[in-house]
Symmetry: C2
Subunit: 435 residues, 2 copies
């Protein structure tokens, strides 16, 4: 039987050039969030399935998790998201941890879905959470962090919009302003969440189908349609504006403006998929015409830690996926030009592998990253290999060079060749590395 060489459907192999991009992404994310005092954590990729049954959306648990029974009869799942794991970890040390607690992680997550642009079965996600802050400072800081991450990748304000809404506000609108039932609220939330992906006529029809005859008579859907057209909090009816959830949003938007976040706006259609959000939610949208979509988001979820039988901990967080981010960098021309790790490719002329060991050990000792060609091919072919590998320098080592203890290096980018002592070579290559 011949084995297949492609990776499992919807997942990716990371060849060194792909891994370099991922490492650049992770490094940039880490630097950005650590500036705000966040510390990295991690959790196992397998968790008890119960963890997701509790609060992750039904669709994800029933249709999209990789769940199975282990050899010991336990129902387990490969994590589809990180929030339940981090809530579990905080609950386990509820009393010992000191708040505000700022944590981040870079987990890989799995969902069984049809692979498409921006969506794969395996992706990595920056998860950032602040625990223990009930006030608006938590939302403010988390959005500053999300913004800092975007800017660390070179994004300019016009390239993305931060859209804010509130679950608490929407709950109030559904139950008090529109007076719909709990079940209708859930269906409405789902419908609004899909609104921008549907034809307007289709949306209107679906909305109408949701209404009871008396709701149709009282013009409920017209009132909802009017709300959905608002683009600022000030356009909302006064009785909604007075509500505490709306006051919170107003304050938050003001605080963000004063922090020079000029691309944050209210958007009543932002819903977020997970069931666990309790108040402010936000989504970051790409404004590029070729990639006009929600990239990532987050919000407040004060109820999760409490599910583990301890006192609840107010929490605000977001998750940012690597695939959508890479799409963003791509369409905006923000992809970096990354150098290979190795500084120098060592070309061995003749049978000098054994004799060259002392030299190679010295170069490594001095911190150079060396790849040695031990193929026995002609020097010209070895240099071709160096070019193919994208390494900037070759070092030529033969009997004569070893006897003289002077070596030729060639810069494969400029074509320049130089003949020097070891010390000089090391400093030339290290200087080049810094460029």
């Amino acid at each position: 039987m011949t084995l297949q060489t492609q990776p499992y459907k919807g997942s990716r192999d990371f060849y060194p050039e792909d891994k370099r991009l991922q490492k650049y992404i992770f490094k940039t994310m880490r630097s950005a969030v650590e500036i705000f005092g966040y510390e990295e954590y991690d959790a196992p990729i397998l968790e008890s399935l119960d963890l997701y049954k509790a609060k992750t959306g039904q669709e994800i648990v029933n249709e999209q998790t990789y769940a199975f029974v282990d050899r010991g009869g336990r129902e387990v799942a490969i994590r589809p998201e990180m929030t339940p794991s981090v809530s579990r970890m905080v609950a386990a040390r509820r009393q010992e941890l000191s708040y505000p607690l700022r944590w981040y992680s870079l987990p890989n997550l799995w969902r069984y879905e049809r692979p498409q642009r921006g969506r794969l079965r395996e992706h990595w996600q920056l998860n950032v959470d602040i625990f223990g802050v009930a006030g608006l400072q938590a939302e403010h800081e988390i959005i500053l962090v999300a913004d800092q991450v975007m800017r660390a990748f070179g994004a300019k304000r016009h390239m993305y919009t931060i859209k804010l809404n509130s679950r608490r506000l929407m709950d109030m609108i559904f139950s008090e302003y529109l007076q719909v039932s709990q079940v209708q609220s859930q269906s409405l939330a789902k419908l609004i969440d899909r609104m921008h992906k549907m034809e307007h006529s289709e949306f209107v029809a679906d909305l109408d189908a949701l209404c009871t005859p008396s709701q149709r008579e009282s013009g409920m859907s017209d009132r909802l349609m009017a709300l959905l057209k608002t683009t600022t909090l000030e356009e909302l009816p006064p009785e909604i504006q007075q509500h505490d959830a709306c006051v919170t949003l107003t304050k938050l938007l003001k605080l963000l403006k004063s922090s020079e976040i000029t691309n944050a706006v209210f958007d009543i259609t932002v819903m977020r998929g997970f069931d666990y959000y309790t108040d402010v939610v936000f989504e970051v949208f790409d404004t590029h015409p070729d990639n006009n979509r929600s990239m990532f988001g987050g919000g407040r979820y004060d109820g999760l830690v409490g599910l583990f039988g301890v006192d609840p901990v107010p929490t605000v967080g977001f998750g940012m996926g690597d695939v959508t981010l890479a799409n963003f960098l791509d369409v905006h021309g923000l992809m970096p030009n990354l150098k290979v790790e190795s500084d120098m490719y060592v070309v061995l002329v003749g049978d000098v592998y054994d004799k060259a060991q002392k030299l190679l050990a010295e170069l490594r000792q001095m911190g150079l990253k060396l790849a040695v060609d031990c193929s026995g091919k002609k020097p010209g072919d070895q240099i071709k290999t160096a070019v193919k590998k994208g390494i900037s320098y070759v070092l030529i080592v033969g009997d004569r060079e070893l006897a003289e203890d002077h070596y030729t290096i060639k810069n494969l980018v400029s074509g320049e060749e130089e003949h020097h002592s070891l010390q000089r070579i090391v400093s030339i290559v290290k200087d080049y590395r810094k460029k």
Copy 2:
């Protein structure tokens, strides 16, 4: 229902202090292998089960893999080892890649086994492989790399031994010198692999049970016992020493000695568990009396890439687990003292969160890693939080400080308090970070 807070059996949560140690381990590994020109890659954690059926040991596939059927009816497994994945990736680009190819990765791996010291269900493993070198240079370099990794963690030569053997040599000894059958060879290899974990009498009895009556008569087991007592290649019978596999081992040991690897020895009992090794194998042993065990190992496996229907690629590699490494660092007193990521904890005196934003933004702009206390607690309690978090500096910010644009910082380690401008504070804290 109250959810459980402990992680899945045999796996670990990484709280920030645990993650810091893991990051130190990964960083040290990366630096050590990149010195030798290795480039990082990665593969998905889920693979087709077929990949492991082909060559991974039977015990691992049948009893220890996390295997299941996905929602699309595919038999998949969570990777129990990385070698099949990397072989698949090389095979997929067999023609395009340029050799020697030097790759490394830091995957997490899963095995269903009873958790015990040095063995967990989830562990991380540094995997290092060189592809495309048929000669001894590959074994030599890979062992140099393994040694470099050990030394990068501060290990001294007396703390570990590198034990070498050859699968090819053992095959010859079994089939030609001892003249046992293929089936007996496999049982013998397994028995020798377990030798150091058994009582001597038990080993002798098991060996005797393996022999046929005619083998017993001809003294086969005595000849094997004599071989197992040898500790150098020179003690082996001349007809074995003359064999090409033995000549190779002799040359390799000599080359290692000349590279100042004084702790490499021949050990006829080194077998390695996987079925895919074809020639030289090695294992690194901890010499500490409290942890005297095999830590990690590797060897040559020339046949794996060819299983994917392409021309075979000679390969040598090793895998080094994080759990056994941490045990090693622990017993030898090599555990590092790691600082928390954040440079400074910001104590807010009074209701100054909004007003302090400009200052905080400036400090972040200058590259300081700040955690801001937005709890509204008394300053003394905020400082206690900073101490608990292990952060070295606190910055006190109240109305007076903001008006004067001069701030008090306190070093929580020395107790020293200073009052300075922003610029001066940033340089003090950055200097401290470098220590």
